[in-house]
């Protein structure tokens, strides 16, 4: 137990799909309050890693430890309860519910009031107030009456972040949070995330293909290629790393 433990530890994670090695011996650690990016070319294993980290499937070997507790192999709904929030690459909201209800239902789950079958959802004033609070954080409070399906893509993405924030996670995992957003929307979202992280000491782990964003906000970056970690360090270190250059630009292909 010598070295100080990070909030999230990925230790020797291996995952194969029918002979194809999607992740090979992935190890890194994320400290409390850190903003950490996971990057790599398409098919490098980022999504698989995300899915292993949030319990969608267990690793073949290795483990994921969160806050000193082993969480690999634990089903998603329990992992979430331990304080991890997740957003998805493809916008993942409840389309035919209102913006308000989208966040409200997340808060019900968080406060364990989902189990109440007879109380009126509307008669939870504290949850209602909290819902609006969360919506205000992502600047969607004014649209709370709208059906989520008619929001713009950027608003939907932010709504998804709001849903994830509602459960007051200690760690928020975001899979391409700005995918499909306009430049302006991306910037707003990034500012939003950075602000929340700073204010609440929230740890962020995200994947992203927009390098401006990656280098703009992350404190540390881990680079995957073909399922393996090829670099792990500060943005400056990553920029200077020749192996990373090669992975991205395909330079010096050797036979």
């Amino acid at each position: 137990m010598g070295a100080p433990m990070g909030l999230l530890e990925i230790r020797g994670v291996v995952k194969s799909f029918g002979g194809l090695r999607a992740l090979q011996d992935v190890t890194f650690s994320v400290g409390q309050g850190e903003i950490r990016a996971i990057i790599g070319p398409n098919g490098a294993g980022k999504s698989t890693l995300f899915n292993v980290m949030t319990g969608l499937f267990p690793p073949d070997s290795g483990e994921v430890v969160f806050g000193g507790e082993r969480i690999s192999g634990v089903p998603p709904h329990r992992i979430i309860r331990k304080g991890i929030g997740r957003s998805f690459q493809i916008t993942n909201i409840f389309p035919r519910m209102t913006v308000f209800e989208n966040v409200q239902v997340a808060l019900f789950a968080h406060h364990r009031s989902s189990r109440d079958p007879l109380g009126m959802a509307r008669r939870y004033p504290s949850v209602a107030a909290e819902t609006l609070d969360v919506l205000r954080q992502v600047d969607l409070a004014e649209k709370h009456e709208l059906s989520a399906s008619i929001l713009s893509h950027g608003d939907q993405k932010r709504l998804e972040i709001a849903i994830s924030l509602a459960s007051r996670p200690r760690l928020l995992m975001l899979d391409e949070p700005t995918a499909g957003m306009s430049r302006f929307e991306s910037r707003e979202t990034v500012e939003l995330l950075r602000g929340i992280s700073r204010e609440q000491g929230l740890t962020l782990v995200f994947t992203e293909h927009d390098m401006d964003i990656v280098f703009g906000i992350s404190e540390k970056i881990v680079v995957l290629q073909q399922g393996a970690v090829i670099a792990d360090g500060t943005p400056a270190e990553i920029k200077a790393n020749p192996q990373v250059r090669k992975a991205y630009l395909g330079e010096e292909i050797q036979a």
């Binding site: 949030t54 089903p75 998603p76 709904h77 329990r78 979430i80 309860r81 929030g85 997740r86 998805f88 993942n92 909201i93 409840f94 389309p95 035919r96 519910m97 209102t98 308000f100 209800e101 409200q104 239902v105 997340a106 019900f108 789950a109 968080h110 009031s113 989902s114 189990r115 109440d116 079958p117 007879l118 109380g119 009126m120 959802a121 509307r122 939870y124 949850v127 009456e145 059906s147 399906s149 849903i163 994830s164 509602a166 459960s167």
Partner: protein, 643 residues
């Protein structure tokens, strides 16, 4: 048992099992092929089989002799294929992008329509089709007497299977069919015309069903409801084998054919239960069937066949409490001025409404299509019936026990079913429902078997309140249904209900809220089961007699139809649907023999034109109209939420 090992006996039985398997294969191979390519589980496939049998009947009236018979045997399936082309191009094509349930319903509407059309054209009676003399007799094999026609069937079916294999694996079109069933979009991008292929495959599948019908017609008899009988068996076959898999259909047919034959000999009592039991066991061990693979979630891109989906918005205005009281007041007053028949009819409507509203907690709120609600309805009805006839327990007590028993049944069935989703979930609930039916149907000593239970005594409530008359029974039912519906309404608008909706909308996201999705689905299933049981209990008290018919799968279809007619995304929708359904049912029966035809046409119109249901439609219009008269809206509706 000694007779079992007798060679002649064995020969006869083996051939009989093979014959049964042959018919099953001919029909289910088409069903599974269509599902594989079009992704539609065709309820009307059995009706196409029935058409095949009627066509050969009609043809052999004019074509006699062996040559005539052969021509008829080949022409009948072609006729069915022609009908199928009209169905595909005229109807199915319009709903490929709709949700699964609308596709199921459209084909169900076709079942009703084709059933009555056959009745109108050919009459309701059993028709038998003469076989040419050459294949009409019997031969002796190993000492057993076997009809020649059985041998014909047993030889022809494998030939068809071989032909199918050849077509699918050796011809280019067959390869395209296989390619398309694994990746539609890619096939499209390779220059393959999907629309034409869909028509072709649907027609070909229909032709197989038609051939099955034409071949089975002379061996069995044909009557209008033969289609609905055979389709459930075929569902069992393809679900056991794995939806969309041809080998699965083959193995499934052999299994079911054998099981049915052995069942009749060894346990004639429970022959029917066997096939459902087998299906249940297979699906528990291998949720996607023996040869099946998990269904891919339809990608958005896959819906891109040049059509736009109709967006059904479930966001409605909810009605103010005061406005909500209006129907209740009407329900309290109207019966006082109605005749006894109408009091009875209204009681029926109340019970049906409860069943539909409870069902919609699953479909509309949680997004689960259950096709086995009749099991819980029956559990409730039989609880009341058995308690009332076998013990001296009061009517109220027995009615209160009904939902408890149904809850236990739902708890067990739900435990297995919620592991599946979509069509597979629907099929497993259907199988469990049929299993419950088979048990009650055959368990003479306890349930009275197909006689049901007659003369259920209705005893006064505590305090000596009599509920024997139609009017008092109506008020009793009204009280029970009002309480139950109010509880269901509260569940729907509670945090629990909100969570169920979240599961309906996106169960993966719900899981990532920290919700144990399966547990919530199970709970919803049990609650819906309990209230359905209450409806069943009320039914037993109202009718004072019950029969196993109320557990048949067609009963399970009723709440589905009511809900779709009324609208799945509104709380009142299913109840409105129940009114429409019961009224139609009672009046159409009096007015025309072909009420199924009318119902089918209405259903067809609903699916094609008003996928939001009647209430959804009215809501839509009302929103527009009231938008112009703001004060009406402000008075009648509170602003708020999505359903």
């Amino acid at each position: 048992m000694a007779a079992f090992f007798d060679v002649s006996f064995l020969t006869v039985q083996v051939l009989s099992a093979l014959r049964q398997a042959a018919f099953l294969f001919l029909i289910s191979s088409g069903l599974t092929l269509v599902f594989g390519v079009l992704n539609i589980l065709n309820f009307a496939h059995g009706s196409l089989y029935m058409l095949g049998a009627y066509f050969i009947y009609a043809l052999t009236l004019h074509l006699t002799g062996p040559a005539g018979f052969v021509i008829a045997l080949l022409a009948a399936p072609l006729g069915v294929a022609l009908v199928a082309v009209v169905i595909e191009m005229g109807l199915l094509r319009r709903i490929y992008i709709q949700e699964e349930i609308y596709q199921l319903l459209l084909t169900y509407a076709l079942v009703l329509i084709i059933h009555d059309m056959a009745k109108i054209v050919f009459g309701p009676e059993f028709k038998s089709i003469p076989k040419p003399r050459a294949i009409g007799g019997a031969v002796t094999i190993f000492g057993g007497t076997v009809p020649v026609y059985t041998l014909v069937v047993v030889v022809l079916a494998p030939l068809v299977a071989l032909l199918l294999w050849y077509l699918l694996y050796r011809t280019r079109t067959g390869k395209i069919v296989r390619a398309t069933s694994s990746d539609r979009e890619m096939a499209d991008a390779l220059g393959i015309n999907m629309s034409a292929l869909f028509t072709l495959v649907f027609a070909f599948g229909a032709m197989l069903a038609g051939f099955g019908g034409a071949l089975a017609g002379p061996a069995r008899t044909v009557f209008p409801s033969v289609g609905t009988e055979v389709i459930i068996e075929c569902f069992v076959v393809v679900v056991i084998g794995g939806l969309g898999n041809l080998w699965g259909a083959l193995v499934g047919s052999l299994l079911i054919g054998t099981l049915e034959t052995v069942g009749i000999i060894v346990f004639p009592e429970f022959e029917m239960s066997f096939i459902y039991l087998l299906m249940v066991v297979v699906l528990i061990l291998r949720p996607w069937g023996l040869f099946g693979r998990p269904l891919k979630v339809k990608a958005l891109a896959e819906k891109n066949l040049g059509m736009e989906a109709q967006e059904i918005s479930p966001v409605h205005f909810s009605v103010r409490p005061l406005v909500r009281m209006i129907p209740l007041v009407l329900l309290l007053i109207v019966p006082l001025f109605a005749g006894r028949y109408y009091q009875y009819l209204l009681t029926q409507i109340l019970i049906a409404s409860l069943m539909a509203v409870a069902f919609n907690l699953l479909l509309g709120t949680t997004g689960l299509l259950s096709f086995g609600q009749a099991a819980f309805y029956g559990a409730g009805a039989y609880t009341v019936g058995l308690l009332a006839t076998k013990t001296g327990i009061g009517s109220l007590s027995s009615l209160l026990l009904a939902p408890l028993v149904a809850m236990v049944v739902a708890g067990i069935i739900g435990f297995f079913c919620i592991r599946l989703s979509g069509v597979h979930f629907a099929m497993l609930t259907l199988a469990f429902g049929q299993l419950v039916f088979a048990i009650i149907y055959k368990w003479y000593n306890f349930t009275g078997g197909d006689n049901g239970i007659q003369g259920i005594p209705v005893r006064p409530l505590p305090g000596g309140i009599d509920i024997g008359s139609n009017l008092s029974m109506y008020y009793f039912a009204l009280a029970a249904v009002a309480v139950a519906v109010e509880i269901l309404r509260r569940i729907r608008s509670s945090p629990f209900g909100a969570t169920l909706k979240a599961i309906r909308e996106n169960n993966q996201r719900a899981e990532y809220l920290g919700v144990n999705v399966k547990l919530y689905q199970w709970t919803a299933f049990v609650i819906a089961g309990a209230f359905t049981g209450l409806a069943g209990g009320l039914y037993a008290l109202m009718e004072k007699s019950i029969s196993p018919d109320i557990i048949l799968w067609t009963k399970s279809a009723e709440p589905v139809l009511m809900t779709i007619i009324g609208g799945i995304y509104s709380f009142a929708g299913p109840a409105v649907g129940a009114v429409v359904f019961i009224v139609l049912n009672s009046y159409l029966v009096a007015w025309t023999e072909n009420w199924a035809l009318v119902l089918g046409l209405i259903l067809l119109a609903m699916v094609l034109m008003l996928p939001g249901g009647a209430v959804g439609f009215v809501n839509e219009k009302a929103r527009g109209a009231f938008g112009k008269m703001g004060w009406v809206r402000r008075w009648a509706f509170s602003k708020s939420g999505a359903s």
